[in-house]
């Protein structure tokens, strides 16, 4: 209910009458008043003028279910949202939900993670209320072999979502780090629950730096990481609006992928990628290989052309 009330209030800069709200939401005038009071408690500022109604003058940057739903324009993704103030990691919560039959499109979002997970269990810095830490559960009818394609698809969707919500140009580093001006803005970690020939669930975890200021980053991260606000002269964004834009792109690309396959995802990925054509270093657990990134295969594998002209297939590595 409150999400629809927010939708009405944010749709206009002028007043919305209590009667209009009451009619559109199908609730009594008293109920409207109660919801308005709840919004005020949550940090919203509303001007109330007799016979004119209510006008929203300030919205706090919340990313709870009501705020996300108020700005969300999707059919499936985010229909079910689990919101947590503090979690170990949204991936962990989403895994548990997926094992308990959570439906496709379920989103887990948290204000802060105290065990935010990166690749190889590296810590992901997720201070409260500054970024967006969320996980999406999908259940595609594909073979596990194809599942890595979804991580490149996610990179495309997140990059487009960021650009749509902020107008800031973002790029992809293979396979799915998102960069602004060479600094990391978002990381994606995807985990799969599968049987040998069937995917049960894929859990896409996204960590996105939105409103961090310089002081929020540990010093050693400053040369390598940034936030949307830092790229916008310190001016913050409504996180709910950013996540809604990303979820919309994710949904569009996901169903497009299921219907038409990887081809267009790959083309879009290549047009957004910063890696291709560059001299890079790929470090795996066993070795470091240098060469030119030639492109990616049909499955998203990175093709690295070494100095002797041979091509190395890179499935997993840190790229510098």
């Amino acid at each position: 209910m409150r999400d629809r009330l927010l939708q009405l209030l944010t749709a206009t800069d002028s007043f919305v009458s209590g009667q209009e709200i009451s009619t559109k939401l199908g609730i009594s005038r008293t109920a409207v008043w109660k919801h308005i009071e709840e919004l005020r408690k949550n940090g919203y500022e509303l001007e109330a003028v007799p016979r004119k109604g209510y006008r929203l003058t300030h919205a706090p940057d919340l990313a709870s279910i009501d705020e996300i739903k108020a700005s969300l324009h999707t059919e499936h993704f985010g229909t079910s949202i689990v919101y947590k103030k503090k979690v170990t990691s949204t991936q962990e919560v989403a895994h548990e939900l997926a094992r308990n039959e959570a439906e496709e499109g379920t989103v887990v979002v948290a204000e802060t993670q105290y065990k935010g997970k990166g690749r190889m269990n590296r810590e992901w810095h997720s201070p409260s209320g500054t970024g967006l830490w969320f996980s999406l559960i999908v259940r595609p009818d594909i073979i596990p072999q194809k599942a890595p394609q979804l991580t490149l698809m996610t990179a495309v969707a997140v990059t487009e979502g960021i650009m749509e919500a902020t107008g800031i140009q973002a790029q992809i580093k293979w396979p799915n780090d998102i960069l602004i001006d060479g600094k990391k803005i978002a990381g994606i970690l995807t985990e799969m629950q599968s049987e040998p020939d069937r995917v049960q669930a894929i859990i896409i975890g996204i960590g996105l730096n939105i409103n961090q200021q310089v002081e929020h980053f540990p010093e050693e991260l400053l040369p390598k990481a940034t936030s949307l606000a830092l790229e916008n002269d310190g001016v913050t964004y409504q996180r709910a609006v950013v996540i809604s834009a990303i979820l919309k792109r994710l949904e569009q690309w996901y169903f497009h992928y299921l219907q038409h396959g990887f081809k267009e995802v790959r083309e879009r990925w290549e047009s957004l990628a910063v890696t291709i054509g560059k001299q890079i270093k790929a470090s795996t657990m066993k070795e470091t290989v240098s060469g030119i990134a030639e492109g990616i295969t049909e499955d998203g594998v990175l093709l690295l052309k070494k100095q002797d002209g041979t091509i190395e297939y890179i499935y997993s590595a840190d790229i510098d």
């Binding site: 690749r119 991580t151 795996t284 657990m285 499935y315 997993s316």
Partner: protein
Amino acid sequence: MFEINEIKELIRAVDESSVGELEIRGETKEKLTIKKEGTGAAAIAPEVVQAPQQAYAPAPPSAPAPSSEPAEQETQTKKDDSLEKIVSPMVGTFYRSPSPEADVYVKEGDKVNEDTVVCIIEAMKLMNELEAEVSGEIVEILVDNGELVEYGQPLFLVKHT
């Protein structure tokens, strides 16, 4: 002596191959001849000719296989039958632990059940925590940590307990 299962296996192998006749001698010098009826290799349809790849190498018609070989291979196969293989569901990097510093998921001698996570396979930053899908004891780990594995490649041998 040849066991009935071994003979059946051999008949099937000959049947699926371009071999018209197979004669082998066992360890105790007993002799087994399997002859295909009527047709020569020339009459066999082309797609059948491709089949020998899957069957274990049948000898060409002119040169019968060395006597001990098929029997030996048979013993090998039988040994493997009592062990379950956990295979990779995708191409990717094989990791024995969740992070380089962490303990391995399983080691040789560990007991596992269907839900036990035995390793991670990673490709394009998609992490697949592989569950055993069988219960028993890990008797052999066939792949090194950090190695690239193929689709369907055996990773662990598990003995039913």
